[in-house]
């Protein structure tokens, strides 16, 4: 039996506003518990919400970026349920009249093909606080710093057919919101969280299977794992003659297992109704046009530009251009060194390997774009070899200073003095007369292979500091003289 997977995503994106969506409290991450919770955030009696205009601007920017209709009249509603980290006993969100209507996001897959994922809508809402279950001797602690942080929830159509597409879509959204500057994109701090709706059906079936929702995934990797696990589970259940229950599931990234959180029967009746404390917000065309005209460069446009302006391959343009921080890094480094190709190679090669090794993103790279550019400049002006450059990068990474400082401190300057190199070459040839004789008597076709031995000896004699290109040139010249 052949099965088809159907996936839809609900993505929560924390907006990078300075203050909360309905109060003046700071949204900064990492403060001591409840130090960023005002009377409004605590839902003290008699307090009232006032909508944050910047949150609307950010949501509209997102809508424009995905070619969506902007809701001219945007209405907040109350979603009622009880939970200790939800102080009002309802979440203020949008339902019937969201700020962003239907739109679409185009994704590129590994085989180079493109696919369009439709967006059902995106709405503004407030984040909840956090329940802390450790350190309270069997009780729970509540931290309301996050309560009221503005979110847009982006709801896709069930247009994805496998984990690769879902991850590509999620990454593309990440790329769009960070390029717009409306979200810091910091996944480990929960700035983007994914709920994945998954169902399977027999290949060729029109009707969708019963879906489950795996909630609150905060990394692309976990998302991929959770989808694989759930698809396998659903197929096993059906092939064993069972039925899929509509339910909400939680994925545990540590144990790589998932469990049911609540079934459809246990689901809340949220009793939505328009929030009477907040009047409908009417967005005028002038505001929309003003935002449209100042929209930053979007990932697709940047990708295209990277190919045209820097001569990057489609693949490289994708790696460097899809993530806004990466793109800024690349362009800053290129500006310093004037060599896009070298900058691209170093970022995608050595630097990425180091970042991945320490589980860092380009945003927290210990080597700044300017430092990388400076280092590349030193390769280009023959101060250091490629091999030395790796050592320089190591030094900058560990905080030894700028590339020039590291080169100086570590004595990594390459010897490019032709007189000195000529002397080295002469010494090595004199000390290895047997090999020189062999070279002389060998066929032209075999000679290039024999060069390596002499180069190795010369580099060794120079303690690796001789300019390899010069060594090659001078060595060949000398050997040819001997023939």
């Amino acid at each position: 039996m052949s099965w088809e997977t159907v996936i839809g995503l609900e993505v929560h994106v924390q907006l990078a506003t300075k203050t909360k969506i309905f109060s003046g409290s700071s949204t900064a991450f990492g403060a001591a518990p409840n130090t960023q919770a005002s009377a409004v955030d605590l839902a003290m009696p008699g307090t009232l919400p006032v909508a944050n205009e910047q949150a609307f601007r950010y949501a509209i920017m997102f809508g424009l970026a995905i070619d969506a209709e902007i809701g001219k009249t945007s209405v907040f509603e109350r979603k009622n349920y009880f939970y200790p980290d939800l102080p009002k006993g309802y979440q203020t969100t949008q339902l019937a009249k969201p700020i962003v209507g239907p739109g679409h996001v185009d994704i590129q897959l590994k085989d180079g093909s493109h696919k369009r994922v439709r967006i059902h809508h995106a709405h503004l809402e407030e984040d909840a606080g956090k329940s802390l279950h450790e350190d309270f001797h069997g009780m729970s602690g509540i931290d309301l710093n996050r309560a009221g942080t503005p979110l847009i929830e982006i709801v896709s159509e069930p247009d994805m057919r496998n984990a690769e597409e879902a991850v590509a879509f999620a990454k593309k959204l990440h790329s769009i919101v960070t390029s717009l500057g409306i979200c810091d994109g910091n996944m480990s701090q929960g700035s983007m969280r994914f709920d994945v709706n998954i169902s399977v059906r027999k290949k060729g079936d029109e009707k969708l299977g019963t879906r489950t929702e795996t909630k609150n995934l905060n990394s692309f990797k976990f998302m991929e794992e959770a989808i694989a696990l759930e698809v396998e589970r659903q197929i096993d259940v059906i092939e064993d003659g069972g039925k899929i229950l509509q339910e909400t599931r939680l994925y545990n990234a540590d144990t790589k297992t998932a469990r049911s959180m609540r079934s459809k029967e246990e689901a809340n009746d949220y009793r939505y109704f328009p929030c009477p404390d907040l009047l409908p917000v009417v967005i005028d065309d002038a505001t929309i046009e003003q935002l449209r005209s100042t929209l930053p460069e979007l990932p697709d446009a940047r990708h295209k530009r990277f190919v045209e302006q820097y001569g990057l391959s489609d693949y490289d343009a994708g790696v460097l251009g899809d993530d806004a921080t990466m793109a800024h890094y690349f362009e800053a480094a290129t500006k310093v060194c004037g060599d896009a190709k070298l900058a691209a190679n170093w970022i995608m090669g050595e630097l990425s390997a180091r970042l991945n090794g320490e589980d860092k993103t380009i945003g927290d790279s210990p080597v700044s774009a300017v430092q990388l550019g400076q280092m590349i400049l030193r390769i280009k002006d023959n101060t250091i070899s490629n091999k030395m450059a790796k050592e320089v990068l190591q030094g900058v990474w560990t905080g030894e200073g700028d590339p020039d400082t590291v080169i100086e401190k570590r004595g990594l300057k390459q010897v490019s003095d032709s007189g000195a190199i000529e002397a080295l070459v002469a010494d090595v040839l004199a000390a290895n007369s047997a090999q020189v004789d062999n070279y002389r008597s060998a066929d032209d076709s075999k000679r290039p292979k024999m060069i390596g031995f002499f180069v190795g000896q010369i580099m060794k004699a120079s303690k690796g500091q001789a300019n390899p290109q010069q060594v090659n040139e001078i060595l060949l010249k000398k050997l040819n003289e001997l023939i």
């Binding site: 008699g46 006032v50 009622n80 009880f82 200790p84 006993g89 509540i142």
Partner: protein, 485 residues
């Protein structure tokens, strides 16, 4: 001194006839002596009141210009948050709640230099028309202590009727200012929705709640409105409109005023004796130069059912925050989260509050939303349209405030719908967001009757002018209960 109006007291302080401390002490004494009978105050703020009176006296002595209400004692309904002073909303749920902030209305009076005598009793969370639902016990009507003072602002109204305070703040969601004003023989104004800030005013039904003043006369209401009305950016439903001087036009003639008399307000539900008193008042206004016009508000009969869907629906969400987690009442020894919620809310709320939460949650629940909440909102638009059409023909709409004078305690206790019908003439103005007033216009069996004045949006100054002219020509507003010390 307690027989004087707010305007007279302000003049007496200005002329130095008495100090604010003397005045404040006088009212505090009366409260201490008489309120055990009426139960109109939940919290008396004697120390704070005397301190602010002393400071008001200093301000007046400094010779600098002061606000007319500087040093004048008032009371706040216990629904307005007062920094450092318990704000209970007459509920066990908030019996221990001391807000760390003031309501905007409270701040406004603070800025004017008014002296706050205390926090007045009310129906629990403003849900009631008789003041019988208060956790702190019912308020007695000073005209007859066997009868109710009306609700939910019954404590404020009774305190004024018993001359324990010259004026008070209050709130009106379906008649909670006008009905107690009528039953206690005083004057009350529910302003246009959005005229008075709701910040710090504990919400019952957000789209209907509006703060307003209770006092003896229209002139006093105007003085109170000058302080209460303000634009407040912290309340998104508050309108950014200039606040007029509400006293400025009080003495204008009302000759030529077109008064609409809705036939639906004189139906079989109206007590015939009340009807006669109200008709007499209308004729009095005719003599002042107004003309009477029969009008119809055809959807009036739908106002009570629509209100009892919308108000509980909003209340069901507004009261969810009282969960025992962050402040207020928490049950003893909760076993788990569910137990904490269930027992806290079961023990902390009274029966009427629970009834309305249940009704509201039901009306919003899946499968019933369209039939109840949506339908009620449609009715609300029709009711508003009735008024819009009427105000194309007339300047003001007048009629009775309530169908009956004050009723006895417990007389409607087992029948919530009979109680709800006491608000039949007041509820539609809340649904439409219009301003409404009640002023004393006569007595039935020695019980006061209220004349209701409904104006167009933001016509409070004109309404106060009409009421003032009526009060200049009559003396019903000067009548007071016997035996109030």
């Amino acid at each position: 001194m307690h027989d004087k109006t707010l305007a007279q007291l302000s003049a007496g302080l200005a002329s130095g006839e008495y100090s604010s401390v003397e005045l404040t002490r006088h009212f505090l004494d009366r409260i201490q002596r008489l309120d055990p009978v009426y139960n109109s105050f939940i919290t008396v703020m004697a120390d704070q009141a005397l301190a602010s009176a002393a400071s008001a006296d200093q301000q007046r002595a400094s010779g600098k210009g002061v606000h007319p209400l500087c040093g004048v004692p008032i009371a706040h309904k216990d629904i307005f948050c007062t920094e450092g002073v318990r704000t209970s909303c007459a509920s066990k749920m908030l019996d221990n709640f001391i807000p760390p902030y003031n309501a905007t209305v409270v701040d406004n009076f603070l800025a004017a230099g008014a002296v706050v005598l205390g926090k007045t009793n009310m129906d629990e969370f403003a849900m009631g028309s008789s003041n019988e639902t208060s956790w702190y016990g019912p308020v007695k009507n000073p005209w007859d202590i066997n009868t109710v003072p009306g609700g939910s602002s019954g404590g404020s109204a009774a305190a004024i009727a018993a001359r324990l305070t010259p004026a008070s703040t209050a709130t009106d969601t379906g008649g909670s200012i006008r009905q107690p004003a009528a039953l206690c023989g005083i004057s009350g104004l529910k302003p246009t929705y959005g005229r008075v800030s709701r910040w710090g005013m504990i919400a019952f039904a957000s789209s209907l709640d509006q703060g307003g003043p209770l006092a003896r006369t229209a002139e006093d209401l105007a003085l109170m409105m000058n302080v209460m009305a303000s634009y407040d950016p912290r309340d998104s439903t508050c309108l950014d409109l200039e606040v007029p001087d509400y006293t400025a036009g009080l003495t204008n003639s009302i000759a030529g005023l077109k008064i609409g008399v809705p036939k639906e307000y004189f139906d079989e539900g109206l007590n015939p004796a009340t009807a006669k008193v109200v008709q007499d008042a209308l004729r009095q206004l005719e003599q002042l130069g107004a003309t009477l016009h029969d009008i119809s508000l055809p959807h009036s009969s739908l106002s009570v059912p629509a209100y009892y869907v919308i108000a509980p629906a909003e209340a069901s969400a507004n009261l969810s925050r009282f969960d025992g987690v962050r402040y207020g009442y928490r049950c003893e020894e909760p076993q788990d989260l569910r137990d904490l919620y269930m027992r806290t809310r079961a023990e902390g709320f009274g029966d009427e509050v629970k009834r309305r939460i249940l009704v509201g949650a039901y009306c919003l629940s899946a499968g019933y939303y369209d039939a109840y909440y949506n339908k009620a909102q449609q009715v609300r638009r029709l009711i508003k349209q009735d008024f819009v059409s009427a105000f194309e023909q007339v300047d003001m709409i007048l009629g009775p405030t309530c169908p009956n004078p004050a009723f006895e305690f417990g007389s409607k206790g087992d029948n919530p719908v009979a109680m709800y019908l006491e608000d039949i003439y007041t509820i539609s103005t809340n649904l439409a967001g219009l301003p409404g007033m009640s002023i004393p216009c006569g007595l039935v069996d020695n019980k006061p009757v209220g004349l209701q004045i409904i104006g167009n949006y933001f016509s409070e100054a004109h309404m106060l002018n009409v009421a003032h002219q009526y009060q200049m020509a009559t003396d019903w507003h000067t009548r007071q209960p016997a035996d109030i010390g």
